[in-house]
Symmetry: C2
C-alpha cells in the first residue's frame, strides 16, 4: 500500500517526519508498503541522506508551499493548492496513494479532505476522534474539535463513526459508547445532550448513557461522544494538566533536597506512567466521515508518532474502516430524514 506523508507538517518536520517514514518502513507493519514524502524536495533529500536504507520504498513528490498557522483552513485548497498538506490529500484523490498522513493543521487537513475526497454518503459532519490515553487503555473522544455547533443527530453519527473506529483500530468487539454530560441520569444536561440521549439510545449499540468527565479516567467508556467545542476543551485541559502538573512536581522537588534525592529511584515508575499517558504511542487518528483514509497526527509529533500515524493508515485500509463506517451510517439514515429531523432534533 502507498501512503502519502505530508513531510512538512508538524512542529518537528521535516527531520522527524522523514525519520518516522524510515522507522515505519523498517517495522513489520511497513513491509511491502511505500511512503510518498510530499514536500520541498531539497530539504527532503537532505533528510533522506541521513538514513542508511534502501529507499526503493520511498518516493519524493515536490511541493513548494507549506501550510502554516496563519492560513485560513476553509480556503486552504484555493490559497495553497501546491502545499505539502493539500498535495498529500490530492494524491489520494488521484488514486496515486491509498491514504494520507499529516501532522499539520487539523482544520486545514479536514478542509482539504472534504474538498478533494468529499464525505462518505450520508455523513453530515466529519469528526476528529483521538484516543485519550488512560491507565485502562484509553477512550476515543469524538468529536474533539471539528464541529463546534452541532445538532443532536450529529452526535449519533459521531457515535456510529467512532464505534467503527473503536472496533477496527482498537479491537473492541462491542465498545461501550457514552455521552459526555454533567450528570449520569437521563434528563441531565443541556438542550443538546438531553435531545441526543434519546436518539443515541435508539440508534447506537451498547450505548451506556451519560458519562461524567470525572469518571473518564476510571475507564467507564470506550467511546465518549460530545460536540467539538466541549471535546476540544476537554482534550486541551488534559494536555495542559499533564504538562503543568509534571512541571510543578519538578519545581516542588527542587525545593526539598531530600525529595530531590529520590528522583533517580522514581524514574522506572515515572517512565511507565509517562508512556501510558503518551499520545504518541497511539499514533494519529483518522478523519471520520471523509471518503478516504486521511490520518491527522498531533502537531508536536516526533518520529515515533509519525511512524504510528503511518501504521494507523495501513490499519484503516486493511480493516476497511471506510466500508464499516458507510454501513453504520446507512443503517441509521432515517434520523436524517427531514420529517423525523424536525421533530426529534
Amino acid at each position: 500500500m502507498r501512503i502519502a506523508l505530508d513531510a512538512m507538517g508538524g512542529d518537528h518536520s521535516p527531520e522527524q517526519t522523514v525519520k518516522g517514514a524510515f522507522d515505519f518502513l523498517q517495522s513489520s507493519c511497513g513491509q511491502g508498503s511505500q511512503v510518498i514524502l510530499v514536500g520541498q524536495s531539497d530539504a527532503l533529500r537532505a533528510e533522506v541522506k541521513k538514513h542508511r536504507f534502501n529507499p526503493s520504498q520511498l518516493e519524493i513528490v515536490h511541493t513548494e508551499k507549506i501550510v502554516d498557522m496563519h492560513d485560513r483552513p476553509a480556503r486552504i485548497v484555493k490559497t495553497k493548492r501546491n502545499s505539502s498538506l493539500v498535495q498529500a490529500v490530492e494524491l489520494v484523490r488521484r488514486g496515486e496513494a491509498d491514504g494520507a498522513v499529516s501532522a499539520g493543521s487539523t482544520g486545514a487537513l479536514l478542509s482539504a479532505a472534504l474538498f478533494l475526497l468529499h464525505r462518505i454518503p450520508g455523513v453530515r459532519r466529519p469528526a476528529v476522534c483521538p484516543l485519550i490515553p488512560t491507565a485502562q487503555g484509553g477512550f476515543l473522544l469524538c468529536d474533539a474539535g471539528a464541529n463546534v455547533d452541532v445538532r443532536a443527530r450529529d452526535l449519533v453519527q459521531f457515535a456510529l463513526m467512532a464505534r467503527a473506529n473503536s472496533v477496527h483500530l482498537f479491537d473492541h468487539p462491542r465498545p461501550r459508547i457514552g455521552l459526555l454530560n454533567i450528570g449520569t441520569e437521563a434528563g441531565k444536561g443541556n438542550d443538546l445532550t438531553i435531545r441526543a440521549h434519546g436518539l443515541l439510545a435508539q440508534h447506537v449499540d451498547n450505548f451506556i448513557g451519560n458519562v461524567e468527565a470525572r469518571d473518564l479516567f476510571a475507564g467507564v467508556a470506550d467511546v465518549v461522544v460530545c460536540d467539538g467545542f466541549v471535546g476540544n476543551i476537554l482534550l486541551k485541559v488534559i494536555e495542559g494538566m499533564v504538562l503543568h502538573v509534571a512541571g510543578w512536581a519538578q519545581e516542588k522537588l527542587k525545593q526539598h533536597p531530600i525529595s530531590q534525592l529520590a528522583v533517580p529511584l522514581m524514574r522506572p515508575a515515572l517512565k511507565d506512567l509517562a508512556q501510558e499517558l503518551d499520545y504518541e504511542e497511539h499514533g494519529g487518528s483518522p478523519l471520520l466521515g471523509v471518503n478516504g483514509v486521511v490520518i491527522v497526527c498531533h502537531g508536536t509529533s516526533s518520529a515515533r508518532a509519525i511512524m504510528n500515524g503511518l501504521k494507523t493508515a495501513i490499519r484503516c485500509l486493511t480493516e476497511e474502516l471506510l466500508g464499516s463506517i458507510r454501513r453504520g451510517i446507512e443503517a441509521h439514515l432515517d434520523i436524517f430524514e427531514e420529517r423525523n429531523a424536525v421533530t426529534t432534533a
Copy 2:
C-alpha cells in the same frame, strides 16, 4: 456576624461540619462571630459535646429533614422546606442570619436561594464560581454548572460578577478576565463564544480575550468565563485527573520495588503539591447573583473546608460583595435592553 451552617449537608456531616464550625470560631476570623448549626438537634448536640469549648457562640436550630441526591433541586423549597439546607437559607431571609453555608447539593442550594432571597436586581442568571487551584494561585471558573444553556449576554454578567468575586475575595485589584475558547484568536469558537467575545470586550474591564484550556494551568487569567455545561465538564475532568493520576502513580510505584523505596523521600514535595491543588484550602464559593450571602462548599468537604467556607461568608459580608456586584451589573444593564439584545446576542 451570624452565619447559618447547614450542618447536615455534605458527605462527612454532621461530624466534620460541626468540627468545622468549632475550628472557625477558634480562628481569628471567627472572633465575635456566631454560627447557627441547622440540622437534627440530637445528632448535633452529640457532636457538640465532643468539643471542649464555650458554646455561647454556637446555637442549634432543629430541622427534621435532610436534602439528598434524589431530591429534585427545582422543587426543594416545596418538598423539603423543613430541611437543614432550606432552613439555613430561610434564616438569612428572615434576617436571623447574615449568611448561609452548605456542603449540600449545589442545585438545591441555588434553588432555595433564588426562591427565598431572589436575584440581585438586573441579574438574569446566578452562577457558581469556584476557585480552581493551580501553582500560580488558581483561577475563578464562572459558570461552573448553574446554567447549562445561556446567551452571550449571560456570559457578560458572569464576567462582571466573577470579577467582583476576584477583587473582593482574592485581592486582585484588576483581575484578568478570559473567555474559555478553542483558540486564542478573536473569531474562534462556537456561536456563543464568538458573540460573547465582542460583548465582553465592550463591557468588561481588563478582558484579555480568548483563553485556551491548555493554558489555564500556566496562569493566563484570574477569571475564566464559560457556559455552565462546559464549566462543569472542565471542573470535573480536573477533579478526575487529580484523583486518577495520583492513583496510577501509586500503582506504578508498587510495580517497581526500587521506586517504592523513594516514596518516603518524596513525601515533603508531594505534600506541598497536594496542598496547592487542594480546593479545601480555599473554602467554598458564593452563589453569585443571589441577593444574599450563600456559600456552597464541595460535597466532600472536611472540617477544614467548612471552616474556610465560613470564613468566605464573613469575607463576603465585610467586603460588601453584594453591593459591588449590584453596582457592576447596574453599570452594564444596557446589554439587556430588548432592542440591543436582539441585535447583539
